[in-house]
């Protein structure tokens, strides 16, 4: 009788576990190191154009933050603050921008490269913001925000144009696929869009007029085919992200080591020393985090205990 009860308990537990596993699959979960926004961004890194778009966008965001950071530093210098720490962060952002520039969009590791470098950019931006906020009161910080908000840079504008060209190339390929699904190819519209003679909205209006004349069944066919492709890409991106998470901390440690080496070329020695010191502290924190992680893993099963300090979220 006792044996029977045990078997019944095991069976009920199995049934409950099945439901729990199923419920978990349906959720759009945030990875320990990669936020949901980044997971969505890597969905287009299925070819070199998508990878190129994301790397250029990342380069632009870093460049813009460096320019704003430099303006913030000069504002603080005018007010007599010591800015060595902030300059060290900017110097590291500059090294990071070079890493983004040298990243190969054709690499099979493009997703991993993008996730890693974006994570570093978020971390450095956050450190800079927090350091500025420690120095300034809210009113002065707001004054500084206003000063840097409307800054225009030729470099950023040039990058914006390159990004727009790459996005047009990406969208051209997408339009080829979309017209293929629709079954009515319009090469001239695609060429006009690619050449910048018509906008994305104008292309959409033309497609919309076409779709409007379709039967309910055809609309369903187009809708479901496009939806299936989107789901396929989402699943693929999720798998990539899971792979990338595996050695996240080790890769970060290697990048920081390389960056300490690259810091040798920084001319300003106090800034160089500060930067090397900051990177060393972060590397030590990483090692401490890894040890803590393995301790947690051995004592608490089922809880990854991931160090969220380094997570991709801003």
């Amino acid at each position: 009788m006792r044996k029977m009860t045990k078997i019944a308990i095991v069976l009920v537990a199995f049934a409950l576990l099945t439901q729990v596993v199923y419920a978990d699959e349906g959720e759009n979960t945030q990875n320990a190191y990669v936020d949901i926004e980044t997971q969505e961004e890597v969905e287009i890194i299925k070819d070199h154009i998508g990878a190129s778009v994301r790397l250029l966008q990342l380069e632009k965001s870093i460049l813009r933050n460096i320019i704003k950071g430099e303006e913030a530093v000069s504002f603080l210098k005018e007010s007599g603050y010591n800015t060595t720490e902030l300059e060290a962060i900017l110097a590291e952002l500059e090294l990071l921008k070079e890493e983004v520039l040298s990243a190969d969009p054709n690499s099979t590791d493009a997703v991993q490269i993008f996730i890693d470098l974006k994570s570093d950019a978020i971390e450095l931006t956050k450190e800079f913001r927090e350091s500025v906020n420690e120095l300034l009161d809210e009113a002065t910080a707001e004054q500084l925000r206003l000063r840097i908000r409307e800054m225009v840079s030729e470099q950023v504008q040039n990058l914006t144009k390159r990004i727009q060209n790459q996005i047009r190339s990406f969208n051209r390929n997408q339009l080829h696929r979309i017209y293929g699904v629709i079954g009515e190819f319009d090469k001239s519209t695609i060429n006009e869009y690619q050449n910048g003679n018509i906008t994305k909205e104008q292309v959409k209006n033309q497609i919309s007029k076409m779709v409007n004349n379709f039967t309910k069944a055809k609309k369903y066919k187009i809708f479901s085919e496009l939806k299936e492709e989107k789901i396929r890409l989402r699943v693929q991106a999720k798998a990539y992200v899971e792979n990338v998470t595996a050695n996240f901390q080790e890769r970060k440690e290697m990048r920081l080591r390389d960056r300490i080496q690259n810091a040798q070329k920084i001319v300003d020695s106090p800034v160089r020393a500060e930067m090397q010191n900051r990177i060393t502290v972060r590397m030590n924190n990483l090692s401490a985090g890894s040890n803590k992680l393995s301790d947690n893993a051995s004592s608490v099963s089922g809880n990854s205990g991931a160090d969220n300090k380094n997570a991709g979220g801003s």
Binding site: S61, I167, K216, I222, K230, S314
Partner: protein, 66 residues
Amino acid sequence: MNKKIIGIVFGAIVIISSVFLFYNYAENSKDDIGSEDQDYTTDDVMDEIDGSLLGEDDEVEIGEMV
């Protein structure tokens, strides 16, 4: 007799779990892709097309410096 009862309980659990999983799977699939009976408008199709294209002003957000 006892073995029979265990067999019936086990069978019932497996069948109920399978039915529940299949029902949920079918419902989710309907939510994701829908069915042909559903009335698809041009807007539904255009939403999917819009989702397949990138916005030319899209940005990668890394946060603000101040």
